[in-house]
């Protein structure tokens, strides 16, 4: 089979359907959203074509700045915590026998595919007064009476790290599974303790992977929408919540679209950085 450039309609035909679907149902909606962000809002819930930047100017308000910096800070905290726990965990995971590895992977995939709604419900139950973990503490005599731990910042953080953890492990998994075991063995033969070998050989060797994963998890956490509403207080609402609120409940599509465009730019810049960090290691 010679691989050459396709010629004529017949050879191009297979790509027509996917190309059409992706252009009509992704490129056009996406472009439309960008267009709506400069449209003028008409009182009564609609908008008309225009070229105004008032929606973007609203970013300069203290309220928006607060939401934005909270969202970014929260996502950064979640990313650092998730990678900090997931990296040593994945490092151990890839060394397990194949069967045990597969059982862990199925378990992690199941958690990963849980809806944010279900994670939110599960954690608010776990942290509630009536059905929560504090009942266990009372039974063990560690606490006088059960209490509610949610909504709170801690509850939100726990829920987000819980949601991000399987994602982090699965992003780290290929890099760690392909790690050359000889490097570490060499370090061990030369007398390093396992812990020392981990910190002096494995971690520096995968520095770029760690950076790239942290950025990917950051973008992932930035998208959280339901957990802030279910586990946090209104002051913990993120940009995603604000966008939906403007689009659906305030019927202000132009402003929602402008915020979404902003979120796209931030995310794309970060994903670009992550790819760059990941690539350097591959060529190195």
């Amino acid at each position: 089979m010679i691989r050459r450039a396709p010629r004529g309609l017949a050879e191009h035909a297979p790509i027509l359907f996917p190309a059409l679907m992706l252009v009509v149902f992704f490129v056009i909606p996406f472009s439309l959203m960008i267009a709506v962000s400069v449209f003028r809002r008409v009182p009564g819930g609609f908008y008309e074509p225009d070229l105004v930047f008032a929606n973007y100017e609203r970013f300069l308000t203290a309220f928006f700045g607060g939401v934005m910096s909270f969202s970014l800070g929260l996502a950064a905290l979640v990313a650092v915590l998730s990678v900090g726990i997931a990296f040593p965990f994945t490092y151990r995971l890839v060394k397990l026998p194949r069967g045990a590895q597969i059982r862990w992977l199925v378990f992690l995939l199941s958690i990963l595919s849980l809806s944010e709604v279900i994670i939110g419900f599960a954690w608010s139950t776990l942290l509630s007064r009536t059905a929560g973990i504090t009942n266990l503490f009372v039974a063990l005599g560690l606490m006088a009476e059960p209490q509610s731990l949610s909504p709170s910042f801690g509850a939100l953080l726990a829920g987000l790290v819980y949601q991000a953890f399987p994602y982090t492990v699965l992003v780290l998994y290929p890099a760690l599974a392909r790690l050359d075991p000889y490097l570490e063995e060499a370090a061990r033969t030369l007398g390093s303790s396992p812990l020392r070998a981990f910190f002096t050989v494995v971690v520096p060797g995968l520095r770029n992977t760690i950076v790239a994963t942290t950025i990917m998890v950051f973008v992932f956490a930035l998208g959280s929408y339901l957990l802030p509403q279910l586990l946090g207080r209104p002051q913990h609402w993120t940009l995603s919540v604000l966008i939906t609120d403007q689009a659906i409940y305030q019927s202000n599509m132009p402003f929602a679209a402008a915020m979404a465009v902003f979120l796209v730019l931030v995310s794309l810049a970060l994903v670009g950085l992550a790819l760059l960090a990941g690539r350097r290691e591959e060529t190195a």
């Binding site: 992706l22 992704f26 597969i102 419900f121 998994y173």
Partner: protein
């Protein structure tokens, strides 16, 4: 020895924390009274029965299953020809479509959701039941695209050359040589898209949330208007279904390889 004990302890702790919310919800789901208490008081499977007998919950369950099946099928229909084309021909420009297929999954979902909302509103289809199927298919096309790229990448080109030398045309090669080799990847791509569509909230909510209730939307609405153990029962059913689907993928396919590890004999 100490190291090993510490490692097992840490792994056990992580497993416990990951399982804890589900265990508590499972406990709540068998409560006898209509309240969320843990440890459960009494034992009853009534809330599981309610998922299937209550018209609201049953409707949401059926809606979710239908939407997930159709959108996963459509996602595979979009991803398969694209992945095949990229593998079969030397067409660097076609990579642009691959990147396009990856984008919705990488960006925060609220962005794709808002894009769909403006699009369906503009073409006057906002709220139509089928829009959520198309939206989910495009949103999750990344998953079959990734598994199929891996699948085609694993096809040994010498088989294909042998078949071509014997006079098989493209179509015959695809049907008799390539298809059997990539079938597990088609199935896992479908399964990934199916499970994620089943659990997806924000796109479904923004596109048809007021006219069509999928299970995640139903659960969220129920959360706002008061807790019932039925939610816990639905959650347990969902988690079990997901675990079964991924268990089957692991049983029939090479899960570590699907997730990017190299196969043993590489």
């Amino acid at each position: 020895m100490l190291m090993r004990t510490l490692n097992s302890l840490a792994a056990g702790l992580i497993a416990l924390v990951l399982a804890a919310p589900i265990l508590v919800v499972a406990g709540v789901s068998v409560n006898e009274k209509k309240s969320l208490t843990f440890p459960p008081q009494g034992f009853s499977l009534a809330w599981y029965a309610e998922v299937f007998t209550d018209p609201g919950w049953r409707g949401a369950l059926i809606t979710s299953l239908v939407v997930a099946t159709l959108s996963a099928a459509l996602a595979v229909l979009i991803a398969f020809p694209l992945a095949w084309f990229l593998w079969r021909w030397r067409a660097p420009w076609a990579r642009a479509f691959e990147v396009l297929g990856m984008t919705p999954f990488i960006l925060p979902p609220v962005i794709t959701a808002l894009g769909f909302l403006s699009f369906w509103a503009a073409v006057g289809e906002y709220g139509s039941p089928w829009t959520v199927v198309v939206s989910h298919a495009v949103f999750f096309v990344t998953l079959p695209l990734v598994t199929l790229s891996l699948g085609f990448g694993a096809v040994d080109r010498s088989y294909v050359e042998a078949a071509a030398t014997m006079g098989a045309d493209d179509r015959t090669v695809l049907r008799t040589v390539v298809m059997p080799l990539v079938r597990p990847y088609v199935i896992s791509g479908f399964a990934f898209a199916f499970v994620l569509s089943l659990n997806e909230y924000i796109v479904a909510y923004m596109v048809v949330g007021f006219t069509l209730e999928t299970l995640p939307i139903k659960i969220f609405n129920a959360l706002r208007y008061g807790y019932t153990p039925t939610m816990a029962a639905v959650t347990v059913l969902f988690v079990s279904l997901t675990a079964v689907v991924f268990g089957l993928i692991a049983w029939f396919g090479d899960l570590p390889r699907l997730l990017g590890a190299w196969a043993k004999n590489d």
